[in-house]
Symmetry: C2
Subunit: 495 residues, 2 copies
């Protein structure tokens, strides 16, 4: 599969810094050039947000992080890079100067993407030595969570370059959509711009304030657009009569005065002050960083909800997360099991906002979730992974016992250790401990019995030899360990 | 609190039928008038979808369903109703005729809402005897899930009527936003219409196809708009420099040709055929009912994700769900505990799509979730409810034992029964069974020990007398029951 070996980010504002976070979390060494004195601080803040979001988003194995280096010049930054992402301010003359320097210093085959929100790639690539490898790669804020990159080629960009860019983006969890024809604003910003213009009229004309307008969106069609977009939503609205019927009903409205867009709003000082004042009243009680954290948690929650969509197959952006996770599992180094007489460390995880109950603590069944996830890791280690399940065999949990000893709070880092108790491998008898990482406090213990089954025959059968080969030495190595105090305990039993 | 005693739905298309579902699931008897021969079938299909969605959405206690009656005339339908919702086709002359009949037959104080997507309430209420109680109540499809109702008064509508309508909508899980001034299309459809016009240009000009356009939305700003709307999103994009800085950056773009909206697209046969063909290619492999089910599952998942937002306080439309649940808990009849020597039935629930693992079965920790939720119901029954927790006391689970005996699948209806084992009330020792409702198959058992604690003192204390008064007779009544076979069992113990 196409992969990016080394990246360069030219420009380290909100967009450039978040590109860097995508690359680094994707395991790619990245050089950043931005002469702004605050660039290093901003990049480290965005990196922290991105890491926090990824930890909540997925339990798939991320590669070892790439290293981030700050360069002293564009030339230095692009040396050795095979993906160069330009995210400097939106002025054509300024971008021309930067792109000329990138073009001169970069390897002639290195891909050059521009983060521009609307400038035409044909204009941007004018005068370049190697314009065929230059294109628009337009992402959306927050770049580390939203998967979309609009890929737009200019007159001189080759289709092969766009296809290559699309393949490479998939390895860092992004999805390139190739836009057929270049126009200013491409597709996403065209749509947002139309929406924005109408919104400005509504505020200017005092139809509603900014808070009401935002609520109208997020209590109604905003929820629809998060998962189906426009045409599929309207297809459903057409009902059994279908899309043609829908168009025949709503077509005539185009002739009505249902928009003021045939006129351009004057964003004068009065309107600016009105919007600023209303926005302060709406959101001013929270700082930008707090709003960002709330937004990221919401986006993670929505992405996870969509990953469960279409009966677990994933839907929309949730399907993209599932695809990215599949890629991560496939490319992760196969875990090596090294049987020693030590409990194995199986899982590291942070307490997610959705795991908190009305007491402010991690709720009971999430403890079980941590242990069940740790069990999945153990099963992968012995080769009873998802392919093994698909081929018709699986371990099912038949019995478990949990003790809750201390509370976990939002954001706590947790880890799980496991000890295998004597068993024949057709059953696996496991004892696990859940710890808080910051102070190694024991939060919970778990004793579990799993049974190996053939899903075709719906009955218990011995595991296949390749699993037994890995499992048996582990059980034997752990046989030397003393039995945990709480093993074999029944409910309410005195110590 | 304001409540609706009896509703009438005039018009039973997709919108009118879903209004009926909202009323009926809100416990309100509803008369429907629609002369269309297919009306009864459509209404029952929409009701089924709505019930399915509500079952997934919330575990709060819905009131007993209202009854649905089909009337033979408008006069008959509106008799006795205090909320009348008109959802007939979007033609002013036709709506005038229907509204005149409603106005003549309805109680003079009954509220009359119109579902119109864009007609002006002043035009609609012209000629009415009691126009002051008529207003636009514009919902969004699917009406049974999306909470928004735009409330727009005409010249003669009183503010008190709009406030009353807003209060009443809250009792059926909907949120009325009062729009300051009437304009055609109000706020939501103004915004959608601008967006739609630009989208039509993008398809007409072959910039992209409908599938790419939908993906652009749902992979990027659609996810943002589901939770923050437009202005709050842009406030964050402005970063530390704030809203004024954002406006100064993006204001000049208004003068650019980033939209074709100063021109009106001609939705001629060619464009209709192009859209129909592209939409078939994109979505045609699934029927409308399947797309509706997928949409509803996604919306439920998104709403639940947002309910967990802002560190569990709820955010955006998720906060509205939390408010609605609080209302349901508050208005539900206080459960009466009638201690008998029978296990108590505590919980009825359906297996949600997010609960399914890659084996196609309900995943391990969701069994624990069912039992933990049943335990919450038990605690409410004995008065240890959310107010008791807020006042500083709570029961914490300290130990549990689960046996998994059979698989639950997507959509299975489940129920839980519980037996209290002898304990002093400071500890509660419980044994529970989880059954599949369709054939009473036992799926799982659960043995649990909970401990009563003072959260202020962080230590175990006896429960308050009012809880003890309800708990003790229950423990005593269950003392006559034989101990369940699996009680006291440790992991792997032979029967």
């Amino acid at each position: 599969m196409a992969k990016i070996n080394q990246a360069a980010c030219i420009g380290g504002g909100v967009i450039g810094a978040a590109w860097a976070a995508r690359f680094i979390l994707g395991g790619i060494d990245t050089n950043m050039f931005d002469p702004h004195p605050e660039a290093q601080r901003l990049v480290s803040e965005v990196m922290a947000n991105a890491e926090r979001a990824y930890e909540m988003l997925t339990r798939a194995p991320l590669p070892n992080k790439g290293t981030l280096s700050f360069s002293n010049s564009i030339e230095e930054a692009v040396r050795g890079a095979d993906w160069i992402q330009e995210s400097v301010p939106e002025r054509l003359d300024f971008k021309h100067g930067v792109l000329a320097q990138i073009d001169a210093a970069a390897h002639p085959k290195a891909l050059i993407g521009s983060s521009t929100s609307g400038l035409m790639p044909s204009d941007l690539q004018r005068g370049m030595k190697n314009p065929e490898r230059m294109f628009v790669a337009h992402p959306f804020n927050p770049v580390y969570l939203l998967p979309l990159v609009e890929l737009v080629g200019g007159e001189k960009t080759t289709r092969a370059v766009l296809e290559d860019a699309k393949d490479k983006l998939a390895t860092i969890g992004m999805t390139g959509l190739i836009i057929n024809k270049e126009i200013e604003g491409f597709v996403g910003d065209r749509l947002q711009e139309a929406f924005w213009r109408e919104a400005l009229w509504l505020i200017k004309d005092d139809i509603c304030d900014t808070e009401t307008l935002d609520n109208v969106i997020r209590y109604s069609f905003g929820l629809r657009w998060a998962q189906m977009g426009l045409f599929e939503t309207y297809r459903i609205a057409g009902g059994e009569a279908g899309m043609r019927d829908f168009l025949s009903k709503y077509g005539p409205i185009l002739a009505w005065p249902w928009t003021k867009l045939t006129d351009v709003v004057d964003l004068d000082d009065n309107l600016v002050e009105k919007i600023v004042g209303q926005s302060d009243a709406q959101s001013g009680q929270r700082g930008i960083r707090e709003l960002e954290r709330i937004r990221d948690q919401n986006l993670v929650g929505i992405l996870q909800a969509l990953k469960a969509g279409d009966e677990g197959r994933g839907w929309g952006a949730g399907e993209l997360v599932a695809d990215f996770e599949a890629h991560l599992w496939k490319t992760a180094p196969k875990p090596q099991l090294n049987p020693t007489s030590e409990p194995i460390r199986l899982l590291e995880v942070k307490v997610h906002p959705a795991w908190i109950d009305y007491n402010g603590h991690m709720t009971e069944y999430r403890y079980t979730q941590c242990f069940a996830d740790a069990c999945d890791v153990l099963l992968q280690l012995i080769g009873a992974d998802i392919d093994y399940v698909k081929a018709g065999h699986s371990y099912y949990t038949v019995e478990s016992h949990v003790r809750l000893l201390a509370e976990a709070k939002l954001g706590d880092a947790l880890y799980v250790k496991a000890q295998l108790l004597p068993s024949d491998g057709k059953k696996i008898h496991t004892f696990m401990w859940l710890y808080r990482a910051s102070d190694d406090t024991l939060l919970s213990t778990y004793e579990q019995l799993t049974l190996h089954v053939s899903s075709k025959e719906s009955r218990s059968v011995p595991p296949l030899p390749e699993v037994m080969r890995k499992l048996k030495p582990l059980i034997e190595a752990h046989a030397d360990l003393p039995a945990p105090d709480a093993a074999g305990r029944s409910i309410g039993q005195r110590k």
